[in-house]
Amino acid sequence: MSTLLQQLANGVVQGALIALIALGYTMVYGIIQLINFAHGEVFMVGAYGGLATYTWIVPESVKDVWYVSLPIVLVGGVAVSVAIALLMERFAYRPLRNAPRLAPLITALGVSVFLQEFVRNFYPNATAALPFPGVFVQGQLVIGPIRVGWSGILLIGVSVLLSIALQTYINRSRMGRAMRATAQDPDTAKLMGVNPDRVIVLTFVLGAALAGVAGVLFGTYLNNINTDMGFQTGIFAFTAAVLGGVGSIRGAVVGAFIIGLVKTLAGQYMPGGTQYDYVWIFVVLILVLVFRPQGLFGEPERVRA
């Protein structure tokens, strides 16, 4: 019983992380119907950006004072993520906006491989996993049999908070309305005075910022980052977005928590253990795609090509 509770708690932390990334997938897909394969890499780059900020920018004297260094590291990570996302939108995706569907997908794949290999080759010592500083309260929260690191709690808190903020922004603000309009019908939105380029850029920026936050918090939680993590976690996040219904913010978050739980529980209870937790997530993905392609919260009438 205590193992189950502990695994549930771990699953929730995983879910919180995945949610932050899944939001980026779901928003970009909602607006330009592109699976941004490279979004997982944006998350990875965010983590490395955060590490670089900690190593070279945060002054030695405040490195141990988490409430000073964590915000700086977060800003650094987010800045790098956003910059990469902007570059990739401008130079890789925008020229292909009216190209056949396969073209941007292949481009996204190329960007993903490129970013991963770029960081591996040019970040100092990044060919192996790098230690990430624990820029938060150390130690664990203990509730009965469950132990969760404080950085895990932070991850959950930030994830829930940011999802709510994003949902509110999209539903209430002027730009949010423009985003929803573009997602529904780009041409009509244009006629109504929405600048689609600005909306798309904003979408990429929001998604990348969330991914950057996720990257830094992930590093803080696991104290270890590597260049493969973006690809793997990106796939989980994508699965979560599909499970929740691509295009739906709420769906992405719910899907993410389900995926997080599936991952930890399958690792504990399914044959093969953690070696195969990956496989169960893909089984979930395939089952969802086959039996409910629109996902849990998706709109079934939307035609997907």
Binding site: A99, I106, G110, V113, T239, L289, R304
Partner: protein, 571 residues
């Protein structure tokens, strides 16, 4: 572009002539001011002209040739003059740039290509300037469509032309394969010289295309199809007798062949049916694992030793079954979602193989000791004697793989023009319309997966025997990406494209050993750049060309009208 062309129009001819002359001058000038860290830059590039007036070899000889050809092209009455001149210019620019970059990065610094130690060496810079001048001149003369020749030949004459052409192709392939020599620490310039040769060859080929020769010959071979196929096959089998006939090059050629066969299989799924498959290499892995287990390798759990043909067929069938299973979600899932499903499948395969699922894959230890193939008691990894000629070991594998590639090509070509092939293309273009026309789209898509996976399984079986070990490492996601890059680089849906793409992507790492860390990074970048600038690939399929290049009102592919063709630079 057209604005630029108008501005330089009055100076176009003098500019091209100047560029041509400069190319010749560049070839005769010294290229390096001193011997580099790892020895002299090849082919006496350090020598002054007056030291060795006629010893212009290697890349300097290529540049000289390009310069002379530019002058001939400017003065001779040839069709599509601008296009030909521009192609030659791209070739010259590529050769000059590649060699200059190599000289500077191989420890020479900027001093090596300008002036240092009282020596001057401006060959590289003059070459670059000349290349640009020729390109501008060509653009100014005016870019027309590649010329079409109306010459009709009688059958024997046509046969002669085809034989000569394919012999030339054989020669070119042998030259290209061995250009720069074997890469590695012992030969630091292999990569640079190989790339430089590619630049030269690409410039020349695009020029020949511009003049209409290549179009004419491909029409000719289309007309005499059976004959061409036979001659081409014979030429491929003759490769061991050329200067590429050493053990090393045979091994490289055989590896390229395996990946080319797999790439053609992938081309069915991606190029014809338009289904993006990101886990394709897993089918090859399944084929390899099955074949290894059935052939009496020491680590095999199954412990039976079947003859290769039977094992290969079983491997292909099992891979095909998995293909159909993976393809089955296509009934409900479309496009990008399908890509994710296939990616997931590929990852599941790697994970399972890594963890030694069912004791079949031997996990991280791989399956060692897969016995080599044998025929009439002759093992395939031994040297072969035909009469008095001794051929190096690996030749038999090369022959087997050439036959495999030929078989796969034949299957592909027949499928493409069959009922089911047309159905695939229809699905690729518009699935709903295809369904409305009565095509059973679900069945067709699963069939595409099945056929593609079967071919990959077959290639995997050969791979297992040829390499002797089967490790999950050979079938990871990035290998799928490399194969996909090969298909896309060559041109989706086109057979020569898949072979060309696979050759380039698997030869380059052999040549550019010192850049092996950057291999995947460059592949990633290449995918982005191809999709941006030449989505139809190097050798576009005719239908695909129209589709991916976009069309103008008259139905002529835009690419043909407004030029931004950068063949010379990408090669």
């Amino acid at each position: 572009m057209s604005k630029l062309a108008n501005t330089i129009k009055p100076f176009a001819r003098p500019l091209a002539i100047l560029g041509g002359v400069l190319l010749i001058v560049a070839a005769l000038l010294p290229w390096v001011t001193f011997a580099l860290n790892s020895g002299k830059y090849p082919d006496l590039a350090t020598l002054q002209f007056f030291d060795a007036p006629f010893a212009v070899t290697g890349f300097r000889w290529h540049i000289l040739l390009l310069g002379v050809l530019v002058l001939i092209a400017v003065f001779a009455p040839i069709p599509s003059k601008g296009r030909v001149v521009r192609s030659l210019g791209w070739g010259g620019l590529a050769v000059a740039l590649i060699n200059s970059i190599f000289i500077t990065t191989e420890g020479g610094g900027l001093g090596a290509i300008t002036a240092a130690d009282g020596n001057a060496a401006f060959g590289g810079i003059v070459g670059i300037v000349a290349g640009i001048a020729v390109i501008l001149g060509g653009t100014g003369i005016g870019i027309e469509l590649p010329a079409k020749w109306k010459v009709k030949l009688s059958t024997p004459l046509a046969y002669l032309v085809l034989v000569v052409t394919f012999a030339a192709v054989l020669f070119a392939v042998a030259q290209t394969l061995t250009a720069g020599g074997q890469g590695g620490p012992a030969n630091p310039y292999a990569g640079g010289l190989f790339l430089s040769f590619l630049g030269f060859a690409a410039g020349l080929l695009t020029a020949l295309n511009g003049i209409g020769l290549i179009g004419w010959i491909s029409e000719l071979s289309e007309k005499h199809r059976v004959f061409s196929v036979v001659v081409l096959l014979a030429c491929a089998l003759l490769l061991p007798f050329t200067n590429a006939g050493s053990e090393y090059w045979m091994t490289v050629a055989a590896n390229i062949g395996i990946y080319a066969a797999t790439a053609i299989g992938l081309n069915i799924v991606v190029g014809l049916a338009g289904l993006l498959d990101l886990g394709y290499v897993a089918f090859m892995g399944i084929g390899a694992v099955v074949a290894a287990n059935l052939s009496g390798a020491a680590a095999s759990k199954v412990g039976i030793d079947l003859p290769f043909p039977i094992a290969a067929v079983i491997a292909a069938i099992i891979a095909g079954i998995f293909g159909a299973i993976v393809g089955s979600p296509t009934l409900r899932v479309r496009g990008d979602y399908l890509a994710i499903v296939t990616l997931a499948f590929g990852e599941i395969f790697t994970r399972s193989a890594q963890n030694n699922i069912g004791g079949l894959t031997n996990g991280a230890n791989a399956i060692p000791g897969v016995p080599p193939l044998d025929l009439f008691g002759k093992e395939f990894n031994e040297p072969l004697n035909i009469g008095s000629v001794e051929l190096p070991s690996g030749v038999l594998y090369y022959v087997l793989i050439v036959l495999l590639v030929a078989a796969v090509m034949a299957i592909f070509a027949n499928l493409k023009f069959s009922r089911i092939g047309r159905a695939w293309i229809a699905i690729r273009e518009d699935e709903d319309a295809a369904r409305a026309m009565g095509i059973k789209t679900g069945k067709a898509k699963i069939l595409a997966f099945l056929v593609g996976a079967t071919l990959a399984g077959l290639a995997g079986a050969v791979f297992a025997h040829k390499n002797g070990t089967v490790s999950y490492e050979s079938f990871k996601f990035l290998e799928s990406v490399t194969l996909l890059a090969a298909v896309i680089l060559g041109g989706m849906g086109s057979i020569p494209g898949a072979v060309l793409g696979a050759s380039l992507l698997f030869v380059l790492p052999e040549k550019l050993r010192e850049f092996s860390d950057y291999r995947l990074m460059i592949f990633g970048l290449a995918l982005v750049l191809i999709m941006r600038f030449r989505p139809q690939g190097l050798v576009p399929d005719r239908h695909r060309r129209a589709e991916l290049a976009g069309e103008d009102v008259g139905g002529v592919p835009v690419d043909e009208v407004h030029e931004h063709d950068t063949k010379g630079a990408t090669a």
